[in-house]
Amino acid sequence: MGKTAGSGKYGMELDGDVLRITGELDYTVSQEARVALRELLDSGSGPLAVDLGGLAYMDSSGLGVLLDMRKFLGAKGRTMSISKVTPHVSKVFEVTQVGKLFGL
């Protein structure tokens, strides 16, 4: 069990170099999620694996959170890749074509 963050709507859990995001990541929580992720990922090194298997919904603001995380890690010389996406989130990655930035 690693470090956790989140509100009732979404959850985040960092276990070593694996980050799990669950619930719903949308406009209403995007700002706090950005801040929480930056705190959660402040230390650590190497590639980060992001498991979105429990993320039921994500809108464009939620996608913005992931892009912000990618930029934050990139500034530290780290990379991130996403695995295990739910059908809805998979569609967001497919339509926006942003999935390829995360190795999908």
Partner: protein
């Protein structure tokens, strides 16, 4: 008995003042005046607690001996920390206190006396509380014609403190409401201004027609559509969706609108145009926000429509009541990564065909039970619809789908269709 009647008369008068006077400074001054009068005190003052600075500061002061000059000095110069002086002690302990010999009491600080020249002999100080919340303290100094204040004075001053607390809280609520009203007015103005971005749709000629609707979820939104006639008789038309919503998204929307207008005639290809807009957004936003867009160049004379997409939903192409597959395009949203290229595809509209550019406010419209309208729902709505424009049918279906639920996202539909010969 006479004293009791007098106290009651003052308390009633204070209550009336609370009901009649809206201005907090005027009301606090009136309460002080009544408190000073009924306790026969030489001076009275109210100090308010400032949580941000963690200080008590004089808000109002009355002094019958030294007059206004002493009050002015207090208001301008003196602040107390929690626990400092008698007022600070009362604020910290949230308990009333009568000090009979001020100068021999270790809790008395004397700072105010040194500043004004007033000599405090005795004082009565009570906290001003709203529930558990400290708002300030109320004090009367030097009882005239007797040694000091007594328990009856304390009880009365505590009643005055309760009235002061109600007045302070009421004033804060009023201020918040006014601030909200000001914000509301600004948002209404912004919403009105945003409608000016929507273009007056031209008649493309050659039997082609245009129809559009855009509805922000909040006052203003990040959805955008535009139609720019080009010198060769073609039309540049697009729908864009800035991530997020509300004011931040609408600011980016305005920047995007102006950038696309500026670049609209500088590029031979749609891919080149999207690439240039992407560079501008990356430079402007540094990857903090992004926008998706689908952009088309339509030739009314031939029905040819070239289109390119930046991470946006593909166009919906209708022939009669059937949905046709428009060819896939490649391209990331605008503003994320620099140095991208975008590719365009082309389709040919036959008479009766329609193409709809939509934002995800359509497909992600949520019903009361949380279900999305989705691609399948959009197909279900449009299948069999051969009337043109069919955008209004889709917009009505979105409204029906999310009936009773506030829209979660901005929604835009931009339709181009060819009339049947």
């Amino acid at each position: 008995m006479a004293g009791q009647v007098e106290r009651l008369r003052h308390l009633i008068s204070a209550n009336q003042s609370l009901a009649e006077i809206e201005s907090l400074p005027v009301l606090l001054d009136r309460l002080l005046e009544l408190a000073q009068e009924v306790t026969a005190a030489e001076a009275a003052s109210v100090l308010l607690w400032e949580p941000e600075r963690e200080l008590l500061s004089f808000a109002h002061a009355r002094n019958s001996v030294l007059g206004e000059s002493a009050s002015d000095l207090l208001l301008r110069r003196i602040t107390l920390r929690l626990g400092e002086g008698v007022a600070g002690w009362v604020a910290k302990e949230r308990a009333s206190l009568i000090v009979r010999e001020a100068h021999s009491d270790r809790r008395f600080s004397g700072t105010a006396d040194r500043s004004t020249g007033f000599v405090t002999r005795c004082l009565l100080c009570v906290p001003v509380l709203y529930g558990e919340e400290l708002l300030g303290v109320l004090q009367v100094l030097n009882a005239t014609g007797r040694d000091c204040f007594d328990a009856a004075d304390q009880e009365l001053l505590e009643s005055f403190a309760n009235l002061a607390a109600v007045a302070i809280v009421r004033s804060k609520l009023l201020e918040e409401r006014l601030a909200q009203q000001r914000l509301h007015t600004q948002l209404e103005t912004a919403a009105r201004i945003q409608t000016h971005f929507w273009p007056r749709l031209p008649d493309p000629g050659h039997g082609s027609r245009l129809w559009a609707v855009s509805q922000p979820a909040a006052f203003v939104g990040g959805d955008l559509y535009d139609c720019i006639p080009l010198p060769d008789g073609s039309l540049l038309l697009y729908v864009a969706d800035v991530a997020g919503k509300g004011l931040p998204a609408s600011l980016v929307m305005a920047a995007l609108w102006s950038r696309i207008r500026a670049e609209s005639q500088a590029h031979a290809s749609l891919g080149g145009l999207l690439g240039a807009v992407n560079e501008a957004l990356v430079e402007l936003l540094d990857g903090d926000m992004f926008a998706t867009a689908v952009i088309g160049r339509y030739h009314p004379a031939t029905g040819r429509l070239a289109f390119a997409s930046a991470g946006h939903l593909p166009p919906l192409w209708l022939r009669g009541g059937n949905l046709l597959h428009s060819p896939a395009t490649r391209g990331l949203p605008l503003g994320i990564v620099a140095g991208l290229s975008y590719e365009a595809q082309e389709i040919a509209l036959e008479p009766g065909d329609a193409v709809l550019f939509i934002t995800d406010g359509v497909t992600e419209a949520r019903s009361r039970d949380g279900g999305f309208l989705d691609d399948a729902g959009v197909e279900r709505v449009l299948r069999g619809v051969s009337t043109r424009p069919c955008g209004p049918v889709l917009a009505a279906a979105v409204a029906d789908w999310q009936a009773g639920v506030p829209a979660a996202d901005d929604m835009t539909i931009f339709e181009i269709w060819r009339e049947t010969d």
